[in-house]
Each structure stands twice: as structure tokens, then as C-alpha cells.
């Protein structure tokens, strides 16, 4: 009797989410796959009779499109540089916070987490002016140390590092908290024992701390990569994909093709490619997580 009321409640409670997920996630994703097999563009928007099924032609056209590869390259560079930067920053700050002798910890924790809670569009704008070549805060700071002004957002060679400085600034707070939580699980007895054995700080880190938080680190890294592959708002607001298309990411390319020029066939193909890449990544993450009994 209670078993069936439990079962009824179970289905009733989960139904809304399932329906929403199917209607607003599954159906459109499948539709996106189908759309990527057509030549939907402005001509089809004008007259649906212009729409044609073209099979894999969008994908071959993508492979032949240098701008697509440019976007892929930019995205991979962003992820390749950004993930280590972000994880290292979060870890370093977490290590600093993870000490019984630090004063006013809640204050630092709150303020260091603040950037994460801000709105990307607003802070991207702020950083656009911070990174301004002539009148920006960063170059003013560098001038104090006698360093010549850097054309952060105007030089294609520095535009990606500049964007990364902003992205890491904004995002490091979340993983900082995650690592603080992970570090708090490192047994203090073990650390004390290692210290009594004469191990220095670095050795203690390598042999006691790192193995304990290793899984959390890897998990955070994999999630970070997935996030970095989906960067869009930052180039859209800070650099408009420039200079010289040096900050065009995969998602930016997709948005441009899809919502600026209405080549929905091409844009859907890009979306599917991105989907597959993230699918592989998250499968890796799931396998790692399972090992941690997180699931």
C-alpha cells in the first residue's frame, strides 16, 4: 500500500522535469541534427520551398572552411592555456585559504568569490576598459613598474591572453571553493606526521595533499575544459571576435552563422560537432567520477 503510493509520488514528482527535458532539450537537439542536414539559409527563410536536404554537405563545407578551423584553433588555444591557468589559480588561492592561522578568512573568501557572482556582460565591459591600451587600468599599473603599454585587445597576438585574464578572474572563485572543501578533507594527522618526519612544504604537498585532492582536481579540470569550449559572451562583448578574428570561438562562429546570417544548416552542423566533443569529454568525466563514488 505504501509502496504504491510511493511509486505514484515518485512518478508524479519526476514527471515535470522529464517532460521539460524531453520537450526543451531532447526534441530540439534531434531537430538540430536534422537541421544540420539541410541547406536552411536566408533563401529558405524567404521561401520554404527553397529548402533542400543535402545530407553531409554542411559538414564537408565546414571542413573546407578556413574560418571554422580558425575558430577551432582559437577555442583550443583558449582551453589549452585557460584551463591550467584557472585550475592553478583556484588551487593556489585555496591553499592560501586553507590554513588555521589566516585571519579574517570569511572576508577574503567572500571577496575572492565575488567575481564569480557578477554578470559576464557587465564585467566584460568593465575589463574592456581596464585593458584599454591608452587609458586602461592595467597598462597604468604596468607603467608604475616601467613596462611599456601593451595593446591588449588590439593586437591579435595578445587578444587571447587578455581575454583569458578576464575569464580566469571571473571564474576562479568557484573552483577555489571546491578545492577548499577538498583540502579540508586532507587528514591533519597525516600532514602533522609528515611535518614531524621533516618533510618540507613542497614535499608535503606532493605526497600528502596532492593524492588526496587529485581526483577533485582532475574532475574540475575536465569540467573546465567543457566550459572553455563554450566561451561566447566574452568575445562577443569585449572584442566582437576581433582583432583580425583572433578571438572567434566555435560558439561565436555558430552564433554568427546562425543568428547573424541565418545559415541555420551550417550553424546546426557546428552545434552538432560541439555537442559530440563535449559528449566525449563528459563521458570521460563520468568515468572518473564513478571511480570516486560520486555517483
Amino acid at each position: 500500500m505504501s509502496r504504491s503510493s510511493e511509486a505514484r509520488a515518485g512518478l508524479a514528482f519526476t514527471l515535470p522535469v522529464l517532460v521539460a527535458t524531453i520537450v526543451f532539450l531532447v526534441v530540439p537537439t534531434v531537430a538540430g541534427l536534422l537541421l544540420s542536414l539541410t541547406d536552411f539559409d536566408i533563401y529558405a527563410l524567404a521561401d520554404p520551398a527553397n529548402l533542400r536536404f543535402v545530407g553531409g554537405r554542411n559538414y564537408t563545407a565546414l571542413v573546407a572552411n578556413p574560418l571554422f578551423w580558425h575558430a577551432v584553433r582559437n577555442t583550443l588555444v583558449l582551453a589549452g592555456l585557460g584551463v591550467p591557468m584557472a585550475i592553478a589559480t583556484s588551487l593556489a588561492v585555496a591553499l592560501l585559504l586553507d590554513s588555521a592561522t589566516v585571519r579574517w578568512k570569511p572576508v577574503w573568501r567572500l571577496l575572492l568569490f565575488a567575481p564569480y557572482v557578477t554578470t559576464v556582460v557587465a564585467t566584460a565591459l568593465v575589463w574592456r576598459y581596464v585593458l584599454d591600451t591608452r587609458t586602461g587600468l592595467l597598462n597604468a599599473l604596468l607603467a608604475v613598474f616601467g613596462i611599456a603599454p601593451v595593446d591588449w585587445l588590439g593586437d591579435p597576438r595578445t587578444s587571447i591572453p587578455a581575454t583569458l585574464i578576464f575569464i580566469v578572474w571571473k571564474a576562479f572563485g568557484y573552483n577555489m571553493l571546491v578545492f577548499v572543501a577538498a583540502l579540508s578533507t586532507v587528514s591533519t594527522e597525516l600532514r602533522e606526521a609528515a611535518r614531524l618526519d621533516g618533510a618540507g612544504a613542497v614535499a608535503r604537498f606532493r605526497h600528502v595533499t596532492l593524492p588526496a585532492i587529485g581526483p577533485a582536481l582532475v574532475l574540475a579540470a575536465v569540467l573546465s575544459v567543457a566550459n572553455f569550449l563554450q566561451i561566447f559572451a566574452e568575445p562577443y562583448v569585449m572584442t566582437h571576435g576581433g582583432p583580425a578574428q583572433s578571438t572567434i570561438t566555435i560558439l561565436y562562429f555558430m552564433f554568427d552563422e546562425g543568428f547573424t546570417w541565418w545559415n541555420l544548416g551550417t550553424a546546426s552542423a557546428v552545434a552538432v560537432v560541439l555537442f559530440v566533443a563535449i559528449l566525449c569529454l563528459t563521458a570521460a568525466q563520468a568515468r572518473l567520477a564513478r571511480r570516486q563514488e560520486w555517483l
Binding site: S5, E6, A7, A9, G10, F13, T14, V17, L18, A20, T21, V23, F24, L25, V27, P28, G32, L35, V93, L96, A100, T101, R103, W104, V107, W108, L110, L111, L112, P115, V117, T118, T119, V120, V121, A122, L125, V126, W127, T135, A140, A143, V178, A181, S184, A216, A220, A226, V237, M254, F255, F259, A271, V272, L274, F275, I278, L279, T282, A289
Partner: protein, 281 residues
Amino acid sequence: MKLGGAGRTIVLAALTLATIAPLVWMVGVSLMPLGSVATFPPPLWPTEPTLANYRELLFYHVGPGGGATSYRIGPAIVNSTLLAMLATALGLTFTLPAGYAFAKLRFVGRARLMQLLLALAVVPAQVAMLPLFLMLKSIGLINTYAGVLLPGLASVYGVLFIRQATLAIPDEMLDAARLDGASEWRILTLIVLPLLRPVVVTLALFTFLASWSDFLWPLIAITDQRLYTLPVALAAISREHGQDVELMMAGAVVTTLPVLLLFAALQRSYFTGVLGGGVKG
């Protein structure tokens, strides 16, 4: 390099200062008169603070030809607030029961559905956006609150987060309530939710923040300026008035301050929720 407590505190203080410097500068510049920042080195704090930028942003202002116009930031604030509150309310309504059910209720197909949800957690939202636009257009929901809110209801991470936290509740407590004849709904609302308070606050804050800061989907789904949310309105203004730095900073302050304050007010619950139970990883 071994750092004592005082040393670490100093380093942290410096780091914190560097981290919040852009935000502090943002507030400072927003209080400066137009044109102040176009010098090198840029001013750090206004010598004569003025609210002129906020006035121009929020109220009707007069253009050079005498035409009165408005940046419509006021309506954008209202839209963002309403949408975020609705998204949070709806999101909690959808995910809380589901998270509890997946954790504690036994029903047919629970494992299967769980696997399905986990698989779907993988799908990035952008893949669905283009067809979703066409779908919503065909039923006339483009340019409406509903059009902006509906896709956000499929939040798998919220369900997993609640489930994770609910697993920690001892089964005996719930079975005892069931023996007393309580319905699952009463158990959920009267026993489980109070226990999960920090987690619920965390999820609510997360959902509010995500909705407030959402950019790509509102950019696509709303074409009427009166329905713009703050990020979209700010991005639109920045494309045309990008050189009015002080004005843009005022807009940035208006966009970031509410959530920052909300977060500061609820921080104890929030940190407990993230650090204590159910860290997503």
C-alpha cells in the same frame, strides 16, 4: 617558502585587493563626469562624484536636438528581476520534488530514468537553441517571458544537486513518517526541505544568478526592446555608446550590484550549501 599566518594574511589581502580592484574602479568611474577616463593615467577615484550617469541611464534624457529618449534600463531591471524570480520559483518547483524522488522514492524505472538524465546532463544548451527558436516561433512564444523561461526548466544539474544532498538524510526518519501515515508530499515539505535549507538556498541563489546573467538565449529570444533583460540591454547600449565609458560603468554597476548584494546577504547559507552538502565537483 614557508609563510606564517601573518604572511599568508598579507598575501591574501593583496590578492583580494587585486581581485576586487576592477569592481571598485567600476563603481568609481560610474560616479565620474563623462569624458574623465579619456586621459592617461586614468583616474582611480572621482574627485567630484556625480550621479549624472545614473540619471541619464535610468530616466528620460534630452538629446541634442531636444528629443527626449530613454535607454530603457528601468524596464530592463524590471524584466530581469521578474524573470529571475519566476525562473527560481519554477526551477525549485520542478527540481526539488524530482531530486527527492530520485534519492528516496522507490518506483519503477527509477534507475533507467536516472541514467537518461545523466546522459542528458551532457547536452550543451546551444545545440538546442536554433531549433528551439524555430519551435517557439511557430507557437508564438518568441518575444515573451514564457519563451525566455521555458528552456531553462530542463535543469538536470539542479536535480542531481538536490538528489546528492537528499541521499544524506537517514531513511529511518522518512520511514517513521510514512508509518505515521504521512503522504510523500508532506514528507517532502515538512521533513526534507527544512533539513535541506542551505542546499535549497544555494540552488535558489544559483538559479537566480543564472537567470539574471543569462545572455545568449535572451539575446536570441527577445527582439522587443521593452522586454530586454539587463545584460542584453547593456550589450546593445555598449555597441552604440561604447565610448561613453562612465555611462557604461554605471550600467555595469546596475547590472552586477543587485546579485552581489543578494549573495552577500545570503552568504552563510550559500557557503554551507556549496562546501558542506552536495558539492557538484
